[in-house]
Amino acid sequence: MIARLLHGVPRHAFALLAAVLAVLVAAPVFANDYVLTILILILYSAYAGQAWNILMGFAGQLSLGHALYVGLGAYVTAALYVHFGIGPWVGMPLAILISVACGAIIGFLAFRFGVGGVYFAILTIAFSEFTRIGFDHIDWVGGSSGLFLPVANYTRNDILLLRGQPVMFYYVILALTAVAFVICHGLLRSRVGYYWQAIREDEPAARALGINTFRYKMIAIVISAGMTAPAGVFYAFYYNNLFPEQTFFILRSIEIMLGPVIGGVGTLFGPVIGAFLLTGLSEALQELLTHVGLETPGAKRVFYGVCLLLVVMILPNGIWPPIARLLRLERRDPET
């Protein structure tokens, strides 16, 4: 299994990955709490982006409603914890299951009836919006006034209940991101991965090669939804408060996809690079502006906009593909 995952990966790519991972593992030793907070944001965005990328980047189905699965993951585990004291790791399988079920329903409705492209995207928006409105009225999870996890000044880290200091959250999200990366790498190299890419590139041609496209699109949405739920679990226990208006808001869905779009849709590194660029630079910019006394609340949004514009105009495939060529990290070289 391991040998298969490594097959065809250039040796220096592997070395580079190991180096990046080593730096990230060692980061808390050097980084102060502020930098750690930003790294957490970056990794969170990389993780969610990676999960979104399975559906859009690999299988070519544009979801604009991934906040739905984040929200479900967050609310399910938070409610279990608040009401029954059930820890997030125990609640997570249920959260994943519910996200998977929702993904399956959306997928079935869309793919069974041949809904694709913008119409599929609109369907995903509709579902997350309906869910947002629904959660506004579920008193058990606080309705529109929100659900709050008990907060205390934690002196020790309780990894089982995800209560503790930033450094613990940092390692949790780093582990999640690393696992997601490996899973996506494996998926992309498997039969499923080939079939997804074929569907993304040309669905009728994929069908003509014996691919049951309905089935493989269902697999894509189910895995993508299931993988997004843990991002929600992390979100809930890290921020300790959940409001339907924020959690299921369409802007959350857009934010999830910005990383992979900037970094490179359909690539393994795209979501990670995109997250570093967008979150890292926008936080740095915010910090800089605050320092020089230019407190502009919209600066972050403007920065997002400028980034997107630049990438779309100059690098329509995202920033990773040219970097990969530069570092000779590609498995296939169109020139040989």
């Binding site: 080939y194 890419q197 590139e201 041609a205 994929a206 069908r207 296939r332």
Partner: protein, 241 residues
């Protein structure tokens, strides 16, 4: 020779337009069966009916003794019918070898085995040296051969070729004719092809069906069919042999 494909009385209407009208024919095992006819005669539609893109309005299609009309394209492919598209549809963002590997995965679920199989087929179609190229960057003759390679990778018993020689220069056409003939004699593959290039049809086909306005107007050995008045009038008369 036992019949591999049996088409009986199939028709297909597109909102009033009768694209295929009551067509029947039989393709024996290891034949090279050609379908000819002017543009808009319904040839591609006939292929789409066989390949499962559309279900026929009337009639039946039997492959290897089983009804396949009404099955989905992927199910038809699974049964052993491979097809190419007249307007080629490579997976443009994937490499040539990955394009063919997608096809090979149908019978070889392990990607490494499928890739080996793909390399094998690419070698036979003179595309091995270009295996790492992006499919979207290939020239038309290469794309046409990639289209054939990908269909072959699904290991079909019957191969449907929709105008794979259209737009090729004479030397490229001869190369394709050679490939088709080899697939038929060496691999024992049965081939149903749509072709406009009469020279090619005359040289490879064992049997020819002529379509005109959706209807079959003649069928027989190539030399006999081109002498039929109806064929000369509706088709060859315009293009000349």
């Amino acid at each position: 020779m036992p019949a591999l494909l049996e088409v009986t009385g199939i028709s297909k209407n597109f909102s009033g337009l009768r694209a295929v009208a009551d067509v029947s024919f039989t393709v024996p095992e290891s034949a090279i069966f050609a379908v000819i006819g002017p543009n808009g005669a319904g040839k591609t539609t006939l292929f789409n009916l066989i390949a499962g893109v559309f279900a026929p309005n009337t009639g039946a299609i039997t492959f290897c003794g089983d009804r396949i009309d009404g099955l989905r394209p992927d199910e038809v492919c699974r049964r052993g019918v491979g097809r190419t598209f007249q307007i080629v549809r490579p997976f443009p963002g994937l490499s040539v070898e990955d394009n063919v590997t997608v096809g090979a995965l149908l019978r070889h679920p392990d990607p490494a085995a499928a890739m080996r199989r793909a390399h094998d087929i690419l070698g036979r179609l003179d595309l091995f040296d270009k295996r790492r190229h992006l499919a979207g960057a290939l020239t038309l003759p290469d794309r046409k051969r990639l289209e054939v390679a990908r269909a072959l990778a699904t290991e079909p018993k019957l191969l449907l070729l929709d105008e794979v020689m259209a737009g090729l220069r004479p030397t490229e056409t001869d190369r394709m004719v050679e490939i088709i003939r080899k697939l038929n004699t060496e691999a024992g593959l049965t081939i149903l092809l749509i072709e406009h290039v009469m020279r090619a049809v005359m040289s490879v086909a064992t049997r020819v069906l002529v379509l005109h306005h959706g209807a079959a107007i003649a069928e027989g050995a190539p030399e006999a069919v081109v002498r039929e008045p109806a064929v000369i009038e509706s088709y060859l008369g315009v293009e000349a042999v």
